[in-house]
């Protein structure tokens, strides 16, 4: 099966990056890198020799920043218990109210941003196109090109500069990163306020600059950033915090908010509320539950209401050049005739070729991305230069291709104005004589939304020439591939839909009288086949297409095409988002265990030595352990006299230890102070997870020499219910447990009582194929 295909061997380079991820484990004492020393990691990775960069599985430079695992386990220590028991009905009420309020706010904010994006793009691009058309109508072709390419270049440089200098994490689609976050991998700054800002404006400039990119991926990322910002209690850096949001200071609740945000993003981009929910469910989220479905649904409903309100407001011409497109973005109003056998075969053919071309698209995007990564790594200036080059190329294609192609006479009876010098429409005059129009200009010299709308037009209103469709298809297919990866926010949906729709119409034209289906329907099916071939989603794409086109009667055919193209494409490679996640080196945890994991047991992949603490531990020991390692979880062992034999008490977290040490309530004797002492001193919220990079650092501790010799009781902050597996449990089962419960640490306990009560800790890293196959290369061949 295509899903199980893996590529490439594991190189040093790759191994080194994954070492960064080692920070999870209370294992080993490699001081290598991690959260605490981002500069070191960054410099080491960048300074690393490139000579051994031979692996298929490379890393995109922008993400050589620290990665942190998320922890969805409820950390049941004494403080949690106390908080839990003391909670009042009103607390629960506040929590629930807040949860829904946040969902509402996420919906409102994402809806607003989505609309703002839309209106800005339409106005900027509209102004640009009108200016060009105006010059063209005066036959000032060179000036027109200069104006057009110049506008594009300025917008492109603005977008690129934002990305290169302010938030490199905002480049690209953002969906892979959101997907990885929802899988439990937090890449630094990926959801930061700066990224949000750049994503919004970079996307507007990028789309308005005429690049073959969409705003859909960036909107998903924007929604996730908004959710993160709201859920964090604002941003301390920018002085915006809401203290009553402390309930959401944990990874579990943040994950839920970000899922809502991702759904809201799709809903805002496509005006497809149900499609948004399903996208979040099928593609973005790794964990799901019914309660979350409902909340996500609410968020996207809010987005829909916001959009509807604004679109109604804009109908009266209050929004400048905005005005086209209601709640249904690309209406396909041609009712399908009854399917004949040739039609049916044509649909299957469309699906198969769509699948092949879709997987080829993924393959080429991957290759181009690797090349671009090397250029982008050289510095911000190179990034901007690359963007400028692509911008010039795009401008030349968009302007040049219509210019060299023939003009067509206007049809006799058309509902639309023909020819038009306006911003949109099927019949652009461009360089043509009166009563003639340029077909290519109608597609190229328009916003991408208008181009898609043109391609979805019914045959009864508009037919395209074979040559136009072929040239447009090839140009868009290639431009789409070489544009993804440059340093601007760039969505993949619109390029794929555009290429797919022109491909579908092309097939219709080739078939000629063999099929009695409409060209608009073929464009829709072509778009579906390309989407299926690249994104590999099913239900969500189906609903998104349905909501985009409002054509329910096409549903069975769309389903069929999606299924065929996904099946065909899965033979060759992975979905484009999965591919980018891998390319970026994000340790994504698959839902299923790999077959070779059945041949190993949990203790096979645990590497030692293990650092453990006693129930009552010397402050100096803790401090040195924290300084010497970058681990995040440490097992706590109760030893005599506190218990009859050594036994596993539980797990403490680095962040909790830092809070405890900062509190400086130590004892001179090695005694159990109990939880009362701690609960008097701390509140559960003191241990709540702060936003990334905001927690207490080791350097913040002000420990004196005499403190080091004192003791501190770790019991109150120890999670007494860690999940455990026996060391003889098969690795496959441990992986399923780890993945299904969303863990960060999984304790491996020995089977016999003669050994210490813990044999090791499994973290995300230990389940990665690269780690396992590095230890047992022989297994790889059996796959």
């Amino acid at each position: 099966m295509g899903e199980e295909a893996r590529d490439g061997a594991v190189t040093d380079q790759y191994g080194r990056l994954h070492h960064d991820f080692d920070v999870e484990r209370g294992l080993g004492n490699d001081r290598f890198s991690g959260i605490e020393e981002p500069l070191l990691v960054s410099s080491m990775s960048r300074g690393g020799t490139r000579t051994n960069f031979t692996s298929q599985t490379a890393i995109v430079g922008a993400n050589l920043c620290p990665i942190e695992s998320l922890d969805y386990e409820i950390f049941e220590n004494d403080l949690f218990d106390q908080d839990w028991r003391s909670r009042k009905k009103s607390d629960i009420f506040h929590y629930v109210t807040l949860k829904w309020t946040l969902a509402l706010l996420i919906g409102l904010a994402t809806g607003l941003v989505g609309f703002f994006n839309n209106i800005s793009v339409e106005n900027i691009a509209g102004f640009k196109l009108l200016l060009t058309n105006n010059l063209m109508s005066k036959h000032r072709y060179y000036e027109a090109f200069a104006a057009y390419a110049g506008c594009n270049m300025v917008l492109a440089v603005m977008a690129a500069a934002l990305c290169a200098y302010i938030a490199p994490a905002a480049a690209g689609s953002g969906i892979p990163e959101v997907k990885a976050y929802l899988n439990g991998v937090d890449a630094h700054t990926i959801l930061a306020p700066g990224t949000l800002f750049v994503k919004i404006f970079g996307s507007i400039f990028g789309v308005a600059a005429g690049f073959v990119v969409g705003k859909e991926g960036p909107m998903v990322h924007t929604g996730a950033c908004i959710a993160n910002l709201l859920g964090q209690g604002g941003s301390q850096k920018y002085g915006l915090t809401w203290k009553w949001l402390r309930y959401f200071k944990n990874d579990r609740d943040r994950r839920d908010l970000i899922t809502c945000g991702a759904a809201a993003g799709v809903a805002a981009a496509f005006r497809a509320p149900v499609g948004g929910v399903l996208f979040a469910l099928e593609e973005a989220a790794s964990w799901w539950r019914s309660a979350l479905l409902w909340r996500t649904f609410f968020t996207t409903a809010v987005v829909a209401v916001v959009l509807r309100t604004f679109i109604n407001f804009c109908k009266d011409g209050n929004c400048g050049l905005f005005g086209q497109g209601g709640l249904i973005m690309f209406e396909v109003d041609s009712t399908p005739a009854n399917f004949t056998t040739p039609d049916f075969l044509a649909v299957i053919f469309l699906g198969i070729i769509g699948g092949v071309l879709g997987s080829l698209y993924n393959f080429l995007v991957d290759k181009v991305l690797r090349t671009y990564t090397r250029i982008n790594e050289k510095g911000p200036r190179y990034k901007i230069l690359l963007v400028m080059a692509i911008s010039l190329l795009t401008s030349c294609c968009s302007f040049g291709l219509p210019l060299i192609l023939q003009c067509l006479p206007c049809p006799a009876q058309s509902k639309e104005e023909c020819p038009t010098g306006g911003r949109s429409g099927n019949y652009k005059i461009f360089q043509c004589p009166p009563n003639h129009y340029s077909e290519m200009a109608s597609l190229f010299m328009a916003t991408k939304d208008d181009a898609i709308r043109n391609l979805f037009t019914s045959d009864s209103e508009k037919e395209f020439l074979l040559s136009t469709l072929l040239i447009f298809f090839v140009a868009i297919y290639l431009l789409g591939i070489i544009t993804y990866g440059i340093a601007i926010p760039s969505g993949l949906f619109i390029p794929v839909i555009l290429a797919g729709a022109s491909y579908g119409r092309l097939v219709r034209t080739i078939l000629g009288p063999l099929s009695n289906l409409d060209g608009g329907l073929f464009a829709l099916l072509g778009a579906a086949s390309f989407l299926g071939g690249t994104m590999r989603m099913t239900v969500s794409l189906c609903i998104i297409l349905l909501e985009l086109t409002n054509n329910l009667l096409m549903l069975p055919s769309v389903m069929l095409v999606l299924l065929i193209s996904k099946t065909v494409a899965d033979i060759f490679n992975r979905g484009v988002y999965d591919q980018i996640v891998r390319l970026k080196g994000l340790p994504y945890m698959e839902a299923h265990a790999e077959p070779y994991m059945r041949n190993l047991v949990a203790s096979d992949v645990v590497s030692g030595p293990l650092i453990t603490f006693s129930g009552v531990e010397k402050v100096g020991t803790i401090f040195h352990a924290l300084r010497a390692t970058t681990h995040n979880g440490f097992p706590v062992i109760d030893e005599p006299p506190f218990s009859n034999a050594p036994e596993l008490c539980g797990l403490v977290l680095r962040s909790h230890l830092l809070v405890l040490l900062k509190g400086k309530r130590f004892t001179e004797q090695r005694v159990v102070t109990g939880s009362e002492e701690v609960t008097r001193r701390f509140k559960a919220r003191d241990f709540a997870k702060p936003g990334l990079g905001k927690g207490i650092k080791l350097e913040d501790l002000d420990l004196q020499e005499e403190d080091m010799e004192m003791y501190v009781d770790l019991h109150p902050i120890t999670n007494r219910s860690p999940y455990t597996v026996l060391e003889t449990t098969s690795l496959a089962k441990a992986a399923v447990l780890f993945r299904e419960l969303g863990l960060r640490h999984l304790c491996v306990v020995p089977k016999t009582s003669e050994r210490p009560p813990i044999a090791g800790i499994l973290t995300r890293h230990d389940f990665m194929p690269e780690h396992i196959l590095g230890l047992y290369p022989r297994l790889g061949s059996h796959r």
Copy 2:
């Protein structure tokens, strides 16, 4: 929160039933009941005094049959390992091909059955209605009533007799049972071939008999039965088996197939393929993964293609009286005007009242169901009598109400024929003079589908009188409530949609000129509010309504209404399916842990003594343990000389022990024979799970006296990787682990080495609130 509301104390009666479920555990030696002795259970429960039947949480008699837990864990023993290692690429290919072939077959079969159901109902009911109309047109009112009520009665008795004598499990909706199955609870005969047969024909007769029931719930159940039948490798009882289906002889793969079946059922009933997928996802399934989404999607796409083909075939009048309704069942073609503030308030009002009425519906259905259960328990005759009574009442209402209400003059310009003596249409003549029509007859003397279509008609074509709507609403609301629970297959969707649509139109009529929205739209929103209030689904209902009515522009309003009505109704009680699951005493495992579980640890709810086996055990010991208990899982302990200290080797299953004992390869000495001996004798498929009731029974064993003194090596059949929790793990965490991984047994291991290596086994039963609150009644008050 409504979701967390629990009702009632735990009575003896209830506790006793849950004891039946104790068969899971290798704990205790209560020989009380269980799978092995269904007759005893059944007789005891029925003979039990009814005096203490005071609990809110009662049990519906039909389900006092044995219940079995399902096991989704991969049982990794030596045989599995061997099978796993020896599997070839071709095996995987066969498995994958079969998986998809089965999905295809499920889709085809469910589509066919759905269409057969549709065509049968339309023809039978159509014949009945035409006969009645014919007599009415001759003013032979008494004969008309006799013909109408007589037809209804005959059909009702046929449906009831099928249910009462052949398959009692086929009565009711079936969705609660399918939901419980997909949660891991297999109620006996619920998916048997007999149930399938009765469900198909009982549903046809029941719907054709004019009851206020739908075919949607039964179609879901039918789909699940078809999937089960196909996946079992056919039915041995009826001599239909496919040997190459051995791959699917486990609970995991069957669960996937049945999920596909449930989705196909909804797709076939509503002609809503995407709605079907989402229904399976949101309401039916408890576990979900992306791969299953795709397979389910394929199944429903097949259903859609089958339906489309047949509907096209029938368009030319090849299907008798069938012909109305294309792929969109209830087209709402009125485009919504712009919402004004009064409209917006009206929609919110509609949602609130819909929520209240929906939860009242649930409350009343629950009450009626309890009463009916007592009647139905008295025997098949009482069941049939009850059905006859309700049939007569329904006939009287349907015939009588139109008769006593006034006739209206036909509108001057109507697109439809007015008046009509036909089977469907908005303007039935019934008892009226020429050029007049009876509004009530158009709703009552029609199939339920036609009635809904009438209510969804746009205002521009048809307006209803306030009095008609009010009387119809009240009648349908009450008839719907008293009809559910009688011994016929009865879906809840159609009654709820019907009541909701008339309620919506009623509100529209009351509002009068205050709102500028269409009556058809209000009917749609009313139906949404009722569905939200009773079923408590969100996304799936939204998509089902969308696919039913093809009106995408109403999406934001439908979302809003669903959210409001669900929220309001959740304050009062649970969703109707959850309620029935509880009423039937099915031990449904919720996705979230109950709050009070945080105050307990795993060992708190484990009850002893525990029965364990040695790694090499005496045959007699095993035999007696199997005879003395009804447990399904037994821990295996390795003891000296096979290990240095007693240690947990794993878990064996009752069914595997029976296969091993039947094989009779015992040794005289207590020696480890190793896995080779066993793998030579058995294949992994010998241990595969057979269909319910088809495995080896204890009585099938032919053990001699001398066998009893011999030994057998249990190692090869022991699952060496059972999931474990420490005894000090909080019960909440154990519950999450148990639920998320779909376990049947969870081993509790001690923390200290001085104790035996296993402290107990947790099963589904141990997580049930009734069990826990029975042990710790004090916790209940803290909830």
